[in-house]
Symmetry: D2
Subunit: 326 residues, 4 copies
């Protein structure tokens, strides 16, 4: 029995000031598919689906869920079974309950992350060749999630063995413990990464842009609009993943990565790339250090059944960031 998870598909974020958030994401070049006073639905220029990012207006910033798209409704049932075998109770969502998506379920993952799976989403006009609408960072599509979790090893085991994600790259600490891992279903570097840290928390959502110059241009445009203080890290080249990156913090502190330049990971004989946590080229190939905030701050997540914030656990591995950062 296969697990036909296709790819990272959408994130549902809670934000406290919808107008402020909308100004920010529109500056970044997201396309608004639909909006009302409670929520806004964004897609990238390449996306033929209704959205890949939902912002809901709420009292407190939080992550309601991160979602993966699967091949068919049948796969949803097969996945739900796997979770229940691990004693994780899924919450079913009927078609129409969540705007634009079909039947779905949500579950608190083994790491504590609120994860959603769905097979169907309404489609929309793809704007890939409407270059006249390109602006800001010209965001093309959602690419991946990065999560801080207290037990990387256990989370990775579940994603690899049960959900059949493949590893492209990983990081070990001095004692050779697995400190972080990059896992994919679509054949690029990742649909999800998990890093050792206080968790469960969503560290960032990665969006694909079409080249490095789009990221440089985005910095100039964001600065012109007064968003210079939202640039947290970069632009730079990651050693791990080879991606050209920029990290931004939205008005509620949710972290967005603009991402380009990783590689095809289609082949079964591709050997995952191993990095030492303290290798200065791992984080930024050029040797630049990340700011402390990048390691310490992340978005808290909600319980899929209660809607309450998930309590945070300290990470299993003591080292919270590379040595040269401390």
């Amino acid at each position: 029995m296969n697990v036909n998870i296709i790819r990272a598909a959408r994130a549902v974020l809670h934000v406290t000031d919808l107008e402020k958030s909308k100004a920010f994401y529109e500056a970044l070049g997201f396309i608004e598919t639909e909006a009302d006073e409670h929520a806004v639905y964004y897609r990238g220029l390449e996306e033929h689906v209704h959205h890949s990012l939902v912002l809901k207006k709420k009292e407190q910033p939080a992550v309601e869920c991160i979602s993966f798209k699967v091949m068919s409704e049948e796969d949803l049932h097969s996945l739900a079974e796997r979770y229940e075998r691990e004693e994780k109770t899924v919450r079913w969502i009927e078609k129409g309950e969540e705007k634009a998506i079909g039947k779905a379920f949500r579950v608190q993952d083994i790491s504590g992350m609120p994860i959603e799976f769905f097979a169907e989403m309404e489609t929309q006009e793809r704007l890939l060749q409407r270059y006249d609408l390109y602006k800001g960072a010209k965001v093309q599509r959602i690419d991946h999630f990065n999560c801080q979790v207290s037990d990387v090893k256990n989370t990775a085991r579940f994603f690899q063995q049960t959900l059949r994600f493949k590893c492209s790259e990983y990081t070990i600490d001095d004692a050779e413990n697995l400190w972080a891992i990059w896992l994919h279903r679509k054949p690029n570097v990742h649909d999800i990464a998990v890093m050792n840290g206080k968790g469960p928390r969503l560290h960032h959502i990665g969006f694909w842009v079409k080249d490095a110059m789009n990221i440089i241009d985005a910095c100039d445009i964001l600065a012109s609009l007064g968003y210079g203080n939202k640039i947290e890290r970069g632009p730079g080249r990651h050693g791990l993943s080879n991606a050209f990156f920029l990290y931004l913090r939205d008005p509620d502190g949710h972290r967005i990565e603009l991402y380009n330049g990783d590689y095809l990971t289609s082949d079964p004989d591709f050997k995952p790339i191993r990095w030492h946590l303290n290798d200065p080229m791992r984080q930024t190939f050029w040797g630049h250090a990340a700011p402390d905030s990048w390691f310490e701050e992340a978005s808290e997540v909600l319980h899929v059944h209660t809607g309450e914030k998930m309590p945070l656990r300290e990470p299993k591995l003591k080292q919270k960031k590379p040595e040269f950062m401390i």
Copy 2:
């Protein structure tokens, strides 16, 4: 029973002057893995495998085969059976017979193209982060093959139904006949395209480059080295596929495309994009016409059993190029 074809993997070309060819492909930035007086094996900067392009020194230019990588040796047998059910006799190649690859088979496809399938290839150091070795067009990896065939409809049927390729985009003529089709296994626009034309012939091999500026730079570098006359078409943007492209002719006339900028085609609900043959934006989004040679010239292919050139058949559809070109 699945058909686990992964991707377009290598091409074996016959060239008449190995030194001349080597100078050209090295100018383009291909990495030479291995060479002797009879052949040279090239890989792109991103490739962890031994090669994706083989040039063999022979009396006459020709295409020995185009190859797809499959998941496992088991898949080879399952594919061979499918071909034999269509009364296509495969030729098995034992491990070691062809440098660096494991057990394989070759077959004259339903279109007449010589196609090879293999599961295993020796690996090599991946040079993705050896930016000091980047030169020319900084070729990253093989992406796709484009073939001229006399019967597009029948070829497409076989690739879609039997080999389980998916269609991303296609072209129809005024009578709504299928004039060309773009088919993929890896989730971007194509691993193979087939176009209506005198065939079977290999129209071009597409290699992935990392951005549009690499293609502009390649033009400057090629011109500096006296290869300006090898630029046949472009740089430009394809309407169909959205790729930024450049077409080059190697010293024997084999056509190489430098290619960047298509999109993710992972989703089962992605609806193939339909283009009219006579839409001027189909070929070049900016409206530029392709030169006649681009429609008329292509590389002849060999019979996998006899090694003789395959006879050419006239295309089933009379229109050989867009109206505005005639």
Copy 3:
């Protein structure tokens, strides 16, 4: 006595449909400083002056004048004298007569081109760091004029000896006649070029853009907006000048060049670069041929005293385009 001509400064074009023209130039990213039903005034993102391009609504497309800025009003008088010594009658324009500029004069140049000189223009907010307003080709500033004239040699002599322009590059025909010349006051390749051809006509106005990718992006954006048919030539690299270029035709057929990548020509010991008309790398370094229209079509110019169209004279040198074009 010095001739303190600073640079190419503005062009005044007649267009037949102001709305149509405005749509086109705004798509290109020009900044509208001011407009009414009779005229529109544009500046580039880098320009601190009121405008560098004026479009006036008239019955027929034409070039009213091309203008150079000089250091001071004193220089105007000194220049007028030089023209009158050549028996060219200048027409003085008082401050306020032409919107935003100070005292000026216009004269029918030795080549027949209507040329204007002024020292003073109202200033405007420079938008160089308003990256949020960048769009289209992100036009930065006017760079140069290119004119077709019947007697290149004589025109060049006057510009070099009397107006003290310096030559950066030039083209000769097989008989070593001067076929075209690039002349500058500001230290890059040119403020004005003159080419052998039916004249006097304005071949194009060159506007500076910040890099080659802006030109690629402009092609995509123009095509998205239905202006693909306005792209006449390029993108490409000029051999002569080394510039990366794109030629566009506005709704009245006036030709605009987007231009980037020439070089500093400040040094007195820089030796002008000589090109043979029939060298295929001269026009396009990559060897691409220009379309016939690029050689044959150009904007007609008006008489500065009568406002009538200047009669056209056949070029002195018979060869009207490179050999490989014929």
Copy 4:
């Protein structure tokens, strides 16, 4: 009497390990015109002159001089007189004494900087269109010098009034004292900038590159070669000057800026741009802070008569860096 200074022309640096320095500058893409065991002469790809950077092997790192090119030998004499009127004794250098340059003089400037003026330098083949030789950062030409001086106001006065440099941009502290100033002869942002700091010291030499992507590529290439630790600051966009920049430290700590993207400053009515020292967008338009080393470290300079190191004076203005940095 005019002062025909053309532009910043060359720097003469002392380095302690010529081989190590050569490896670094060659990685950056400088073209070696000539070298022996004592010195190496570099030029950029655009330069038609013998060199713009000289490295001499010496016991201690230092700056022997920074040089400006003037129009003619006559201008040398006129400049020497002006210095002597300020009681600055010039040291004449006869043609042939310094490799490749003609008659010259050196003088300890009013700020204490060792400055050289010359009119003539041997020429060399310009490699602008030898794209096959482009590598590293593809350095095009020398652009400017930046100096730390103890008395900015007095230095600026001399450069503006006596040497007739023009100001493009400047920085004031809270008390409206002139903290730094950008001064040019060629019409872009600067040939020399002076900043308040312990001086006289050479802060950096700026070299022009052709676009921002060349700087991104340079980071990747330098990192691949193990020079990641030589990247001190950037890549980023300067608010002041609008330039896209990268600061590197050579093996002796001399600072090199890769620089692109400033603007034309030809017009006499261009009003210098005023920045407050504590405006966070001044240094980096995106709001990034410079590292402390960027403010504190610089290259010491030699006395043009004695060859001894110039003693350092504390800056007149107390604030040594922007407030948000402290």
